[in-house]
Symmetry: C2
Subunit: 138 residues, 2 copies
DNA sequence: ATATAATTGAAAATGATTTTCAATATCACT
DNA sequence: AGTGATATTGAAAATCATTTTCAATTATAT
């Protein structure tokens, strides 16, 4: 269960284990959809009603720092977060249900090298996101 | 000169040609860096001091509608705009000076098909951005 | 020249995020 | 188990980006 690993990692990094953090981690660690801070807030308060929105922001910030979640950029906005993959992975988003799938992008290296050659840039990082319909929705 | 084409296109689409629009278009049509609304505002007021920030937002909205500019997503934020390329193109951003270069991404089709096969998604759209150092900065 | 409707800038409203702060809760050390 | 230092909390206020409202102005077809 990802939740316990995440909580352990928070603790290993000197952060205390609190009700607010537990509640936030429980919602986002197992979600297959990208969630905005307010969505996390609403969902997490069902288990932990005292939760404040500010603590959601603060916890998300720490989870992002630790590489456990990543921000998802979409046409409607860029506030949502989803768990991050191990190593370098890319996002595939279902435009209908919002389901998020991670996939490897090693095959891109070739392509990126060719762009570097053509443009003269030294390329250090890349962002790739695919949008479409998942198996259920298509 | 891109400026005049953009202004003509605005007019062809039923929009009036005003000082505010001219000023905004002049700044963004020839920029090689992505600019935020406030950056456009500050730069455009040097030529047209009466300009209001609201008109910058409204003009950017129309330029985006017409496909002349596109929003640029970056780690520091997603409010900046740069001129769009013809057809489907991708962005290459210099992390140092902010210079933006467009490049073709036709070569990606193969890769995207393989992701579709592996994941079961029907893929309709993709976003790709590369970050690095341009020839001058590296 | 004139009339009409689009456009303007200022101000207010909204929405997202951050900061401040006094109260509380976690955890290391007994 | 109890205690103390300090990290963390939620609420309220502050900030920043964006949108809406509105009366005044301006572009353009006639």
């Amino acid at each position: 269960m990802a939740v316990n690993n995440w909580l352990a990692l928070l603790q290993e990094n000197g952060y205390r284990l609190t009700g607010a953090r537990r509640a936030v981690v429980e919602i986002i660690a197992d979600s297959h959809r990208a969630l905005t801070p307010v969505e996390v807030y609403d969902a997490a308060r069902e288990q932990y009603p005292a939760l404040g929105l500010v603590s959601v922001y603060r916890t998300l910030e720490k989870l992002e720092e630790l590489g456990l979640i990543q921000r998802v950029h979409q046409p409607q906005g860029c506030q949502a977060f989803i768990k991050a993959g191990k190593g370098h992975q890319h996002l595939l988003l279902c435009s209908k249900c919002g389901r998020t799938t991670l996939f490897d992008g090693d095959d891109l290296d070739q392509f990126i090298k060719s762009v570097a050659r053509k443009t003269g840039y030294q390329i250090n990082e890349h962002w790739l996101q695919l949008f479409g319909l998942c198996e259920n929705c298509k």
